[in-house]
Amino acid sequence: MKVSVIKNVLDANDRLAADNKALFDDKKVYVINLMSSPGAGKTTLVERTIVALQDQYKIGVIEGDIQDTCDADRVARLGIPVVQINTGGACHIDGNMVREALPTFDLAALDLLIVENVGNLVCPAEFKIGENEKVMILSTPEGSDKPAKYPLMFREAAVMIINKMDLMPYVDFNLEKAKKDALTINPKLKIFEVSCKTSGGLTGWIEWLSAQITTYKKS
Protein backbone atom coordinates (compact mmCIF):
# COMPACT_ATOMS: atom_id res chain seq x y z
CA MET A 1 0.00 0.00 0.00
CA LYS A 2 1.26 3.45 -0.87
CA VAL A 3 0.72 6.34 1.54
CA SER A 4 1.17 9.81 0.06
CA VAL A 5 2.99 12.12 2.46
CA ILE A 6 4.58 15.19 0.76
CA LYS A 7 6.00 16.65 3.91
CA ASN A 8 9.25 18.50 4.56
CA VAL A 9 11.44 16.23 6.64
CA LEU A 10 12.26 19.25 8.80
CA ASP A 11 8.59 20.13 9.24
CA ALA A 12 8.75 19.61 13.03
CA ASN A 13 11.71 21.99 13.27
CA ASP A 14 9.96 24.50 11.00
CA ARG A 15 6.97 24.49 13.36
CA LEU A 16 9.17 25.07 16.41
CA ALA A 17 10.91 27.89 14.55
CA ALA A 18 7.52 29.41 13.70
CA ASP A 19 6.58 29.28 17.42
CA ASN A 20 9.82 31.05 18.30
CA LYS A 21 9.13 33.67 15.61
CA ALA A 22 5.64 34.30 16.97
CA LEU A 23 7.12 34.86 20.42
CA PHE A 24 9.79 37.23 19.04
CA ASP A 25 7.14 39.14 17.05
CA ASP A 26 5.00 39.47 20.15
CA LYS A 27 7.92 40.95 22.13
CA LYS A 28 9.32 42.82 19.10
CA VAL A 29 12.74 41.21 19.25
CA TYR A 30 14.64 41.37 15.96
CA VAL A 31 16.60 38.14 15.53
CA ILE A 32 19.58 37.37 13.34
CA ASN A 33 21.00 33.92 12.73
CA LEU A 34 24.72 34.42 12.16
CA MET A 35 26.50 31.68 10.23
CA SER A 36 29.92 31.03 8.70
CA SER A 37 32.83 28.60 8.60
CA PRO A 38 34.79 28.21 11.83
CA GLY A 39 37.20 31.12 12.19
CA ALA A 40 35.54 33.51 9.72
CA GLY A 41 35.00 36.11 12.44
CA LYS A 42 31.48 35.58 13.82
CA THR A 43 32.31 36.36 17.44
CA THR A 44 34.39 39.39 16.50
CA LEU A 45 31.51 40.70 14.37
CA VAL A 46 29.16 40.12 17.32
CA GLU A 47 31.52 42.11 19.58
CA ARG A 48 31.84 44.99 17.10
CA THR A 49 28.08 45.07 16.54
CA ILE A 50 27.40 45.16 20.29
CA VAL A 51 29.87 48.01 20.86
CA ALA A 52 28.32 50.00 17.98
CA LEU A 53 24.68 49.47 18.96
CA GLN A 54 24.47 48.84 22.70
CA ASP A 55 23.68 52.47 23.56
CA GLN A 56 20.80 52.41 21.08
CA TYR A 57 19.35 48.92 21.58
CA LYS A 58 19.08 46.26 24.26
CA ILE A 59 20.96 43.29 22.86
CA GLY A 60 21.07 39.60 23.81
CA VAL A 61 23.27 36.87 22.38
CA ILE A 62 22.98 33.09 22.03
CA GLU A 63 26.31 31.42 21.33
CA GLY A 64 26.27 27.98 19.72
CA ASP A 65 29.34 25.78 19.89
CA ILE A 66 29.98 22.08 20.04
CA GLN A 67 31.69 22.63 23.39
CA ASP A 68 33.39 25.29 25.55
CA THR A 69 32.19 28.75 26.61
CA CYS A 70 34.99 31.00 25.33
CA ASP A 71 32.73 32.84 22.85
CA ALA A 72 30.07 33.47 25.51
CA ASP A 73 32.78 34.72 27.90
CA ARG A 74 33.93 37.25 25.28
CA VAL A 75 30.38 38.57 24.85
CA ALA A 76 29.65 38.58 28.60
CA ARG A 77 32.64 40.90 29.12
CA LEU A 78 30.68 43.54 27.19
CA GLY A 79 27.90 43.41 29.79
CA ILE A 80 25.42 41.70 27.46
CA PRO A 81 23.09 38.84 28.51
CA VAL A 82 24.42 35.74 26.80
CA VAL A 83 23.56 32.05 26.78
CA GLN A 84 25.96 29.42 25.55
CA ILE A 85 24.35 26.45 23.84
CA ASN A 86 26.69 23.49 23.70
CA THR A 87 25.32 21.32 20.96
CA GLY A 88 27.33 18.33 22.23
CA GLY A 89 28.43 17.30 18.80
CA ALA A 90 25.55 18.56 16.67
CA CYS A 91 26.76 20.63 13.73
CA HIS A 92 24.03 23.27 13.89
CA ILE A 93 21.56 25.05 16.19
CA ASP A 94 17.90 24.09 15.69
CA GLY A 95 14.58 25.61 16.67
CA ASN A 96 14.29 23.59 19.86
CA MET A 97 17.74 24.55 21.17
CA VAL A 98 16.85 28.23 20.78
CA ARG A 99 13.50 27.72 22.47
CA GLU A 100 15.17 26.09 25.47
CA ALA A 101 17.62 29.00 25.76
CA LEU A 102 14.91 31.69 25.72
CA PRO A 103 13.75 31.57 29.40
CA THR A 104 17.17 33.00 30.36
CA PHE A 105 16.32 36.28 28.63
CA ASP A 106 13.82 38.98 29.51
CA LEU A 107 12.51 39.11 25.93
CA ALA A 108 10.26 42.09 26.59
CA ALA A 109 13.40 44.11 27.40
CA LEU A 110 15.32 43.06 24.27
CA ASP A 111 15.45 44.78 20.87
CA LEU A 112 17.98 42.56 19.15
CA LEU A 113 18.90 38.90 19.64
CA ILE A 114 21.99 37.66 17.83
CA VAL A 115 22.25 33.88 17.50
CA GLU A 116 25.79 32.85 16.62
CA ASN A 117 25.48 29.45 15.00
CA VAL A 118 28.02 26.62 15.03
CA GLY A 119 30.84 27.26 12.55
CA ASN A 120 29.79 25.27 9.49
CA LEU A 121 28.80 26.25 5.94
CA VAL A 122 26.47 23.28 5.40
CA CYS A 123 23.99 22.23 8.07
CA PRO A 124 23.04 25.53 9.79
CA ALA A 125 21.55 26.75 6.49
CA GLU A 126 18.88 24.03 6.67
CA PHE A 127 17.53 24.60 10.17
CA LYS A 128 15.28 27.59 10.82
CA ILE A 129 15.33 28.95 14.37
CA GLY A 130 12.71 31.72 14.15
CA GLU A 131 15.05 34.41 12.88
CA ASN A 132 14.14 37.55 10.93
CA GLU A 133 17.21 37.17 8.74
CA LYS A 134 20.07 34.80 8.20
CA VAL A 135 23.40 36.61 7.97
CA MET A 136 26.53 34.83 6.79
CA ILE A 137 30.20 35.74 6.87
CA LEU A 138 32.72 34.73 4.21
CA SER A 139 36.31 35.62 5.11
CA THR A 140 38.90 36.26 2.43
CA PRO A 141 41.41 33.52 3.46
CA GLU A 142 38.69 30.90 2.89
CA GLY A 143 38.78 31.53 -0.85
CA SER A 144 36.34 32.95 -3.37
CA ASP A 145 35.06 29.52 -4.42
CA LYS A 146 32.84 29.14 -1.35
CA PRO A 147 29.54 30.36 -2.90
CA ALA A 148 29.95 27.81 -5.70
CA LYS A 149 30.82 25.04 -3.23
CA TYR A 150 28.18 25.75 -0.59
CA PRO A 151 25.31 27.33 -2.58
CA LEU A 152 22.57 26.59 -0.04
CA MET A 153 24.14 28.82 2.61
CA PHE A 154 24.37 31.74 0.15
CA ARG A 155 20.83 31.12 -1.08
CA GLU A 156 19.35 31.18 2.43
CA ALA A 157 21.24 34.23 3.71
CA ALA A 158 19.87 37.76 3.32
CA VAL A 159 23.28 39.28 3.99
CA MET A 160 26.82 38.24 3.11
CA ILE A 161 29.57 39.96 5.05
CA ILE A 162 32.95 39.58 3.39
CA ASN A 163 35.32 39.79 6.35
CA LYS A 164 39.11 40.13 6.69
CA MET A 165 39.30 42.59 3.79
CA ASP A 166 42.53 43.83 5.44
CA LEU A 167 44.13 40.52 4.38
CA MET A 168 43.35 41.01 0.67
CA PRO A 169 46.99 41.85 -0.23
CA TYR A 170 48.14 38.54 1.28
CA VAL A 171 45.50 36.06 0.15
CA ASP A 172 44.37 34.80 -3.23
CA PHE A 173 40.75 35.92 -3.01
CA ASN A 174 38.90 36.94 -6.17
CA LEU A 175 36.43 39.45 -4.74
CA GLU A 176 34.48 39.98 -7.97
CA LYS A 177 34.11 36.22 -8.55
CA ALA A 178 32.87 35.64 -4.99
CA LYS A 179 30.31 38.44 -5.29
CA LYS A 180 29.17 37.39 -8.76
CA ASP A 181 28.69 33.73 -7.81
CA ALA A 182 26.87 34.66 -4.61
CA LEU A 183 24.52 37.00 -6.52
CA THR A 184 23.87 34.34 -9.19
CA ILE A 185 22.73 32.02 -6.40
CA ASN A 186 20.83 34.75 -4.58
CA PRO A 187 20.19 38.00 -6.51
CA LYS A 188 18.70 39.68 -3.40
CA LEU A 189 21.82 39.14 -1.29
CA LYS A 190 23.04 42.29 0.47
CA ILE A 191 26.86 42.40 0.53
CA PHE A 192 29.18 44.28 2.92
CA GLU A 193 32.97 44.25 2.64
CA VAL A 194 34.49 44.70 6.08
CA SER A 195 37.42 44.08 8.36
CA CYS A 196 36.26 43.28 11.88
CA LYS A 197 39.88 43.65 12.98
CA THR A 198 40.34 47.25 11.77
CA SER A 199 36.59 48.04 11.85
CA GLY A 200 36.90 49.11 8.18
CA GLY A 201 33.59 49.02 6.29
CA LEU A 202 31.53 48.13 9.34
CA THR A 203 29.44 51.31 9.18
CA GLY A 204 27.40 49.98 6.25
CA TRP A 205 26.52 46.80 8.15
CA ILE A 206 25.69 48.65 11.37
CA GLU A 207 23.47 51.15 9.51
CA TRP A 208 21.69 48.34 7.65
CA LEU A 209 21.04 46.39 10.86
CA SER A 210 19.88 49.48 12.71
CA ALA A 211 17.45 50.35 9.89
CA GLN A 212 16.12 46.76 9.92
CA ILE A 213 15.45 46.90 13.67
CA THR A 214 13.75 50.30 13.39
CA THR A 215 11.49 49.14 10.53
CA TYR A 216 10.64 45.94 12.40
CA LYS A 217 9.78 47.79 15.60
CA LYS A 218 7.35 50.02 13.68
CA SER A 219 5.67 47.11 11.86
Binding site: V5, C91, K180
Partner: protein, 114 residues
Protein backbone atom coordinates in the same frame (compact mmCIF):
# COMPACT_ATOMS: atom_id res chain seq x y z
CA UNK B 1 26.40 15.18 10.52
CA UNK B 2 23.01 16.74 9.74
CA UNK B 3 21.88 13.31 8.57
CA UNK B 4 21.28 12.36 12.21
CA UNK B 5 18.68 15.15 12.67
CA UNK B 6 17.14 14.54 9.26
CA UNK B 7 16.72 10.80 9.86
CA UNK B 8 15.30 11.37 13.34
CA UNK B 9 12.70 13.71 11.80
CA UNK B 10 11.95 11.17 9.05
CA UNK B 11 11.35 8.45 11.65
CA UNK B 12 9.07 10.79 13.65
CA UNK B 13 7.02 11.43 10.50
CA UNK B 14 6.81 7.66 9.87
CA UNK B 15 5.52 7.11 13.43
CA UNK B 16 2.89 9.88 12.99
CA UNK B 17 1.67 8.33 9.74
CA UNK B 18 1.69 4.81 11.26
CA UNK B 19 -0.57 6.05 14.05
CA UNK B 20 -2.89 7.73 11.52
CA UNK B 21 -2.99 4.99 8.86
CA UNK B 22 -2.49 1.94 11.06
CA UNK B 23 0.32 0.27 9.12
CA UNK B 24 2.83 -2.08 10.73
CA UNK B 25 5.88 -1.85 8.53
CA UNK B 26 7.44 0.41 5.92
CA UNK B 27 9.04 -1.26 2.88
CA UNK B 28 10.24 1.89 1.16
CA UNK B 29 10.39 5.64 1.72
CA UNK B 30 10.40 7.87 -1.35
CA UNK B 31 12.31 11.11 -0.77
CA UNK B 32 12.84 14.17 -2.92
CA UNK B 33 15.42 16.95 -2.71
CA UNK B 34 17.43 19.31 -4.90
CA UNK B 35 20.90 18.39 -6.08
CA UNK B 36 22.36 21.40 -4.24
CA UNK B 37 20.57 20.87 -0.94
CA UNK B 38 23.56 19.23 0.81
CA UNK B 39 21.94 15.80 1.02
CA UNK B 40 24.19 12.84 0.32
CA UNK B 41 22.14 9.69 -0.41
CA UNK B 42 24.88 7.28 0.70
CA UNK B 43 25.32 9.00 4.08
CA UNK B 44 21.56 9.11 4.53
CA UNK B 45 21.27 5.38 3.73
CA UNK B 46 24.10 4.51 6.12
CA UNK B 47 22.63 6.52 9.01
CA UNK B 48 19.11 5.32 8.27
CA UNK B 49 20.14 1.66 8.52
CA UNK B 50 21.43 2.23 12.06
CA UNK B 51 18.86 4.73 13.33
CA UNK B 52 15.84 2.83 12.02
CA UNK B 53 16.67 -0.36 13.96
CA UNK B 54 13.72 -1.33 16.13
CA UNK B 55 11.32 1.08 14.37
CA UNK B 56 8.54 0.41 11.85
CA UNK B 57 10.93 1.50 9.12
CA UNK B 58 13.69 -0.95 9.97
CA UNK B 59 15.15 -2.36 6.76
CA UNK B 60 13.14 0.01 4.54
CA UNK B 61 14.64 1.04 1.22
CA UNK B 62 15.20 4.72 0.58
CA UNK B 63 14.26 5.91 -2.93
CA UNK B 64 15.46 9.28 -4.15
CA UNK B 65 13.93 11.77 -6.59
CA UNK B 66 16.75 14.25 -7.07
CA UNK B 67 15.78 17.55 -8.68
CA UNK B 68 18.43 18.82 -11.08
CA UNK B 69 20.28 22.11 -10.88
CA UNK B 70 18.30 24.53 -13.05
CA UNK B 71 20.13 27.55 -14.39
CA UNK B 72 18.57 30.32 -16.51
CA UNK B 73 20.72 32.21 -19.03
CA UNK B 74 19.59 35.83 -19.22
CA UNK B 75 21.24 36.29 -22.62
CA UNK B 76 19.88 33.15 -24.36
CA UNK B 77 16.64 33.50 -22.36
CA UNK B 78 16.74 29.73 -21.88
CA UNK B 79 16.82 27.36 -18.96
CA UNK B 80 19.25 24.48 -18.77
CA UNK B 81 19.72 21.57 -16.39
CA UNK B 82 22.96 20.37 -14.85
CA UNK B 83 24.00 17.81 -12.29
CA UNK B 84 26.23 20.24 -10.41
CA UNK B 85 26.50 23.97 -9.84
CA UNK B 86 27.76 25.88 -12.87
CA UNK B 87 28.26 29.59 -13.34
CA UNK B 88 28.21 29.80 -17.15
CA UNK B 89 25.71 29.00 -19.89
CA UNK B 90 26.70 25.84 -21.83
CA UNK B 91 25.36 27.37 -25.08
CA UNK B 92 26.77 30.92 -25.14
CA UNK B 93 29.40 30.40 -22.38
CA UNK B 94 28.18 33.69 -20.90
CA UNK B 95 28.12 34.22 -17.15
CA UNK B 96 24.90 36.19 -17.09
CA UNK B 97 23.05 33.34 -15.40
CA UNK B 98 20.63 32.84 -12.53
CA UNK B 99 20.08 29.76 -10.38
CA UNK B 100 16.42 28.68 -10.62
CA UNK B 101 16.31 25.23 -9.04
CA UNK B 102 18.20 22.49 -7.27
CA UNK B 103 17.85 23.77 -3.69
CA UNK B 104 14.58 21.98 -2.90
CA UNK B 105 14.38 20.86 0.73
CA UNK B 106 14.35 17.19 1.71
CA UNK B 107 10.75 15.92 1.58
CA UNK B 108 9.10 12.58 2.16
CA UNK B 109 6.95 12.05 -0.93
CA UNK B 110 5.37 8.70 -0.07
CA UNK B 111 5.68 5.57 2.03
CA UNK B 112 5.28 2.03 0.73
CA UNK B 113 3.75 0.20 3.70
CA UNK B 114 2.18 -3.10 4.77
Amino acid sequence: MHEFSLIRSMLDIVEDYAAKHGFEHVNAIRLSFGRLSCIEPKSLEFGFKIQSEGTKAEGATLEFDIHPVVVYCLDCEKEFHADHWCDACPTCKGENVMLNGGMEELKIVSLDVI
